[in-house]
Subunit: 339 residues, 2 copies
Amino acid sequence: MKLISLRHPLNSKPVASDFVELDIPTPECPDQGILVRVVHLSLDPYIGSRLRGKHMGEAPPTPGVEAIPGAIVGEVVQSNLDGLSKGDWIQSMEGGWQEFVSLKEGAFRKLDPTQAPLASHAGVLGMPGLTAWAGITQLANVGEGDTVLVNAAAGPVGGTVGQIARIKGAERVVGIAGGAEKCAIVTDTYGFDACIDYKIDGWEAELKKALPDGLSIFFENVSADMAITALDNARTYARGVLCGLAAGYQVQSQDRVPNPLPMGTIIGKRAQLFGLVVYDFYSKWDEFAGEAGKWIQDGKLAFAEDREEGLENAPALFERLMNGQNRGKAVVTVSPEKA
Amino acid sequence: MKLISLRHPLNSKPVASDFVELDIPTPECPDQGILVRVVHLSLDPYIGSRLRGKHMGEAPPTPGVEAIPGAIVGEVVQSNLDGLSKGDWIQSMEGGWQEFVSLKEGAFRKLDPTQAPLASHAGVLGMPGLTAWAGITQLANVGEGDTVLVNAAAGPVGGTVGQIARIKGAERVVGIAGGAEKCAIVTDTYGFDACIDYKIDGWEAELKKALPDGLSIFFENVSADMAITALDNARTYARGVLCGLAAGYQVQSQDRVPNPLPMGTIIGKRAQLFGLVVYDFYSKWDEFAGEAGKWIQDGKLAFAEDREEGLENAPALFERLMNGQNRGKAVVTVSPEKA
C-alpha cells in the first residue's frame, strides 16, 4: 500500500518536497483492533508544528518510516472486535497519510454514515468542528445577545464557531480573514454579519466599525497580537477562548515572553480567558456530532471544502494549507467511498 | 476640621512630604445624605496609582483642595435620610483623609457594629477582604481538594484569600511574601501551609518544592512575571484570578506589551484566567460581611493590622505602605470610636 512519510527531519515550514511516498505491506489486523481502508484524510495546520516536534510535546513521525499523522474517516475491512464488522465506518485521530491503517480498540469512534456526508467527519464534524463547538458552547457559553468575533474565520474552526454562535442565539457575528475571497466565504457561505480583511490597510478601524458596541466573546485562532486587538474591542466582562496561534506555528518567537497578552487589560476589562485544547473534549464527540449532524441536515451549518482526490496530492494541498492558500477545509479523498 | 491633600501634582511614588494638612470648615450635611465622623481610615496600595491618575481612569484629587481618597468607617453625626440616625455606623469608599465627610445616599453601606471590631470594616471586612472573597469564591470557585497559591500573602487581600480558601476546603495553601517577618505572619497568623520568601535566592525552586503536585488556583496580586511563575507551577485546568499588579503601580512599563502573559502556556495548560475588579462585587458586600463576620467571631479568619492613631500620621504610614514596610493592613484611626 501507499504511505507518505517525511523525507527528512523538518526544521522549517513544510513544503511538498519534504514528503516522500513509500510502498509498504498493508498492515495486519490487530488482535484487539480493526483494519481500516482510509477514505477521507483531514489536513490540519497544527500538523505543521507537530512535524517539527512543536505540538503538545508529541514526537514527530520518523522520516522514511512512519506516516504523516492526520485524522481519517474510513471503512472497516477486517475486525477482531465485538460490535464492529466489515463495512462499518469509523473516524480516528490516529490515522495518517496511508491507504490502510490498523487501529486498536479505543483509537477510533464508530460513525453513523447516514448522519451527514462522510467527508464532513473529516471537517465540520471532525476535530475542527469539535474544537469550535467546545470553545464556543462549553467554554464561552455563547447565548442570546452575544456579539462574537472570530479570526481565521474562513477556516473550518472559525467558520463553524460563527455559525454555532448564530444558532445558539448570538446577536452579531463578525469574522476576520485574509483576502476578499476568504471574506466572501465567511459572509456568503457561513452567513457572518461582517468579515474584515486583515490584509487591507486600516482594517483595525474597519473592525471597530463592525463592532459598534464591542464584542462579548472572542475566539482566538491566530496570534497574541490578534487577541490584543480583540481585547481592545472587548466590552467589560468579555470572554475569550484561546484556541490557537496559527501565525506562530512556523516561527520561533523572539519575544521575552512568547505570545504576550496584557495582564492589565485583562484585569481592567474583567475579561475571562479560557485555554482550549480539543483533546479534552473527545469524550463529547458523540454529543457534538449528534447536534451538529442535525444542523447540517437542516441547512443551518455550512462548510466549505478544499478537496483533492488521491493520496499523492496530499503534499501539495498541505503546502497550500501552510501558506493559507486553501479555500475551505483541506480534505484528501484517499480512496472512493464505495470501494 | 483637618483634611490631608496633595501638596502638588504627583508623578512618582508618593512620600510623606507630598502631602499637606489643611484646616477647613466642617462640611454641611447634604439634603439627601449624611454627615459622618471619620473613625477608621483604610490606606491601600492602589491609591498610589490613583494619586497619579493611573487607576481605572479616575482623576487624581486636586492638590491643596480635595482630600486623599480612601475607604472609611465612621459614625453618623447628622442625617437627612430615612432609616439612618445619629450614632449609626457606616462604611464608605468615598471617604478620604479628613475628620468629617458628607455622603450622599448610595455612597455608603450601613454597618452592624456588633458584627466584628469596627476597624475590621476598614480591613478584612472592607475592600481588601471583599476583593479576596470575590476572587477566590465567586471567580475561582475554590473548593475541596484545591491547592492555592497567592502572593503578597502577608497583605490583607492575600492573607484573606488563603484563609477563605482553607475555610472552603482547599487542601493546601501556599503564600509568597517578601522577607522572613512577613512570611511568619503568613504561616503563623494566617495559618498557610507554607510561605516562600521571594527575596531569597533560589526561591523559585523552593516554591516548586512547596507545590509538589502543582497548584490548581493562583491569585495574582503582584506582577505578570509572578503570574508566569504561577502558570509554570500550575496543573492542567488551573484557574487564575488576575487581581493586581502591585509591583507596577509606581512604574511605567517599558515592554511592548505591558505586563505580558504567555498565551501559548495558557492554552497548553487549559488555564482559565479571570480579571477581577472589586467594584463589580460591591452589591455582594453584605453577603460577604455576613459570612466573614461569623468567621472572625469563630476565630477562623485572622487579620494583622498596622494601625496608627491620628490623621496626621497617615502620610508616614502611607509612605511605609508604598515601600512594602507595613506589617498587616494599614489603618489610621482618625478619632476614637467613642467620641
